[in-house]
Symmetry: C2
């Protein structure tokens, strides 16, 4: 048995409350997933991530494959044990990072060869290999190996990319179904296996997006992601693509929009019916001193905060806003103190997770869809 | 009233258990004080420092004077409030950093002019100015402005440096006594004022050390530090200088050896009768991947830890040793992840604070000095 997904409330406006039951954790959706690229949500301890109420976080297959290596992680009991994270994990397929970070890529129908951005070493990823790596890491949810279509892309290019991604989706699914019982924790959770999501691509072409969704649904994945968004296109287009795809996805399976977004975006997409989202924005921006607050974005390095003794966000009850001042956070950032990135990250994650908590609560009170 | 120092147990071997009562905290001694250079014990939150049981930490006057500036900190209620640290604080005089970090120093009897290591700006520190800065910061304990004699130093140089330091000690004390009620928290603790420690110098010349101690004791400081140690001299010499000075200091006042040391050193000096010590070693080494453990020093970057699933220190019950493995810490360090420095720092501080806790407990059971 893979994931269990129980719809609790379907609002007429599209949004929905649900419970996503994974081997390592039950997760209330819509959920925002903090990104833990290399087995760590950058600059914060696992204790803090737990205290913030995160139930499901991401690991990046490309990074962990290169360092410390998936076989080492498998030998150490999988990523949960390696990083001491007992709650749920999702790994991406490595595809996005192969295309965005590595050098000298060469794509064939079989897979993609590339050189590591760390040491230039040569590697070859196929859908089957991505599955093997993700099974070794042992996240609760793995992602099919796909090619993220760049923006802008010509129709011919988007079609070609989609053809590749659909073929890889089939191979990913077949390999996952054959080997998903090989996750390091298989004996720990009776009858549970790793789940696999397919990824809808198709660039910014609605008909290609539709075709992609329909073909993936026919393959019967455990859940469906919409990828290739937030890659430079205008926001309206992002929402348009999501709106085009959502109605084609089965209502009883989770829907995940990858790599979004700003606070207002994650709220908007959750209200449209997206169940899962992830983004490096709250954590990456934090390390550069950008705070997301109920009063808008706040660049903490600003001179006007030098003696501001108010909390980062007066409406926030996170451990940082309860204890520290803007002036102190500014000082840490200006002085390049590592604590600055840590405290900013804690606040931004609390803010993102708080948005989802509020949206879940509000969705539960919205007018339900007619039976 | 400055600090209160109550001897609880004087062991025949020299060590002593005492309670140091400061406006912001009662501190059990012997105590190791983590260093919070720029208003932060690098890479860890104040919550964690509290949880580790640290009651008294250091701030560096030179760093805080340059950034964010002592007047700004005064306006924000002092260093305790600025960094949200409700327990006790000690600030150094700035002298050591002026001599070790700044550029283009020029020392006269009046004071020292120097250029900031941050932006090259010109500054002039006198004993009076150091006191004003430390009063603005408002630590529970301030230090007299001194010149830390370098090692090695000729006798003539050590004598000249001592002459300067003794004159500056008198001026520091006079200015502190006249203005110590100007600390930002003066109204908060009825009848309490900032305490001031004199600093024994004299290079590695026993008679100069004795002269320095005797002259400072005659001035009647609230406590006495031994400075100018751990500056490159062999360890035996460090202990020799401490042993020479301790008997000359009044038993009813705290004794502080500045800037030491390795775990075995802080234990040794505590057993000799030193009440307070500070050092950047546990925190700085941590950020470079060096862990202090019951099994000795451990460079976590070592390849042999790549799949070591044991805790950093099997005998340690700190939050890091309870949760994370050597393999994980190695991965974080090798990958340059900020969490590595944070977790290493937490363990090293727990280890240092644990040594002092054990020594306090053991000292309390040692044969007492004859009445």
């Amino acid at each position: 048995m893979g994931l269990q997904f129980q719809l609790l409330h379907q609002a007429a406006a599209g949004g929905r409350r649900a419970e996503l039951d994974l081997p390592h954790r039950r997760v209330a959706t819509p959920v925002f997933m903090p990104v833990g690229t290399a087995g760590t949500v950058k600059a914060v301890t696992q204790e803090v991530i737990e205290d913030l109420g995160a139930d499901l976080i991401l690991g990046n297959t490309y990074h962990l494959y290169l360092r410390p290596g998936h076989e080492a992680i498998r030998r150490m009991g999988g990523l949960h044990r390696f990083m001491s994270w007992p709650r749920a994990l999702l790994t991406d397929s490595g595809g996005f990072q192969v295309f965005s970070l590595s050098a000298l890529r060469k794509v064939t129908g079989e897979g993609v060869s590339f050189r590591s951005h760390l040491d230039g070493s040569s590697h070859f990823f196929t859908p089957e290999h991505s599955m093997d790596v993700q099974i070794a890491l042992g996240a609760d949810i793995a992602m099919a190996f796909d090619e993220c279509t760049e923006y802008p892309a010509s129709r011919a290019r988007a079609e070609e990319s989609l053809r590749l991604t659909m073929a890889w989706a089939e191979r990913s699914l077949a390999h996952s179904r054959a080997h998903c019982h090989e996750v390091p924790w298989f004996d720990q959770f009776e009858g549970r296996r790793q789940s696999l999501f397919g990824i809808v691509q198709g660039g910014m072409y609605k008909d290609l997006r539709r075709e992609s969704a329909e073909r993936l649904v026919a393959m019967d994945f455990d859940g469906y992601a919409i990828g290739g968004l937030s890659v430079g296109e205008p926001r309206e287009l992002t929402a348009e693509m999501i709106a085009e795809v959502l109605p084609l996805l089965p209502p009883d399976k989770p829907r995940y929009v990858m790599g979004v977004g700003y606070p207002d975006e994650i709220e908007l997409y959750a209200r449209m019916g997206v169940d899962m989202m992830d983004c490096v924005l709250p954590t990456r921006a934090a390390r550069h001193g950008l705070l997301f607050t109920s009063e808008g974005r706040l660049n903490i390095k600003g001179r006007r905060y030098a003696e501001d003794q108010g909390p980062p966000d007066p409406a926030c009850a996170c451990p940082v806003c309860r204890r520290y001042t803007r002036a102190y956070l500014r000082h840490l950032q200006v002085a390049g103190e590592p604590l600055g990135g840590t405290l900013n990250t804690i606040h931004n994650l609390a803010y993102y997770l708080g948005i989802m908590e509020r949206v879940r609560s509000e969705l539960g009170r919205e007018a339900p869809v007619a039976e």
